[in-house]
Symmetry: C2
Subunit: 206 residues, 2 copies
Amino acid sequence: MSTSPAPKTRTAARSYHHGNLRAALVAEGLAALEDSERADVSLRELARRVGVSPNAAYRHFADKDALLAAMAAEGFRRFGAAAAAAQAAPGRPAEQLRAQGRAYVKFARDNPALFKLMFGSFAASNRSEELTQAGELTFEGLRAGVAASTRLPRDDERVTVATVYAWGLVHGLSHLILDGQLDEFGDLDAMTDAVLTFASTAGQQR
Amino acid sequence: MSTSPAPKTRTAARSYHHGNLRAALVAEGLAALEDSERADVSLRELARRVGVSPNAAYRHFADKDALLAAMAAEGFRRFGAAAAAAQAAPGRPAEQLRAQGRAYVKFARDNPALFKLMFGSFAASNRSEELTQAGELTFEGLRAGVAASTRLPRDDERVTVATVYAWGLVHGLSHLILDGQLDEFGDLDAMTDAVLTFASTAGQQR
């Protein structure tokens, strides 16, 4: 009998508590996502990587879309933590809102494939309750920042418009940066900061 | 001899002046683009559709990337015409800038695949002179609108920041709309207008 442990991926008899295996598959999927095209994330391959049978994986996810939805929802939780930290930082509401914007762009740059999964057509059309709730929580977090910054009631229609405005701006900056469209401007952190600062003072210059 | 004309796609002996065939291939490529995935636009198939041999097509485009670059450049010319019309419309500079923003989002919604080709990673990394110039002209057109709206000199650094800001906003709105992320807000023309109006008055509300 060999004293060296068997490679993890061959340990087919590995046991997980129910919730643990689901979380392990999501975590492995997120790690694989940034290394590959989305089409390459296969439930069968992830099962192999965490050391369980395909059937064990299929007990948690009916198909790949179900796994992708759980991955996107986990992405929203991770992003939500970063955005909440920005929102809770000391400073005036407008500064906190800018920090939320920076956190959005940073998240997109750090996790480009996950960003596109969370905020692209897949998430918009997916009906998973977990994903829908996670996405709504994120929008409400941004709305809270916008409401504080504009000093308007949170359910005011103008806050909805201002929230879509803020989302559109940081979403567009993220896409332009990820696609290399702003490379000629050099320091993209500085450009992001300058744009977000401009945004919070734009009307005053007209 | 039959009196009915041969189907266009079988007329292998069709003759074009040099520039005409290039333009015909680009036009056919643009028509095909919105009907298919980008990967499906093949130079060989386009040659068949316009009724020339593959070799005749390859005399104009060394490979598919060269064709895609020419298609993106033609897209910039079409978009530039729409943006210039918006910029030339009567009204205050801020209104003309909003009209440019509406034209950007409308172009994206009318030509989603072309929009992603023009403003995505392909165009940012492609070194075709025609495409680079067309992209720069577009940015300069937006910069002119921003300079007029802010009453700052066109080469002022703040105009660069404000131009990236305006681009980011309309780019993000376009992506969110194309990906279905704003579907819950109903009338997307109205939401676009409301967001662009908010953008030009944002600082005054803080």
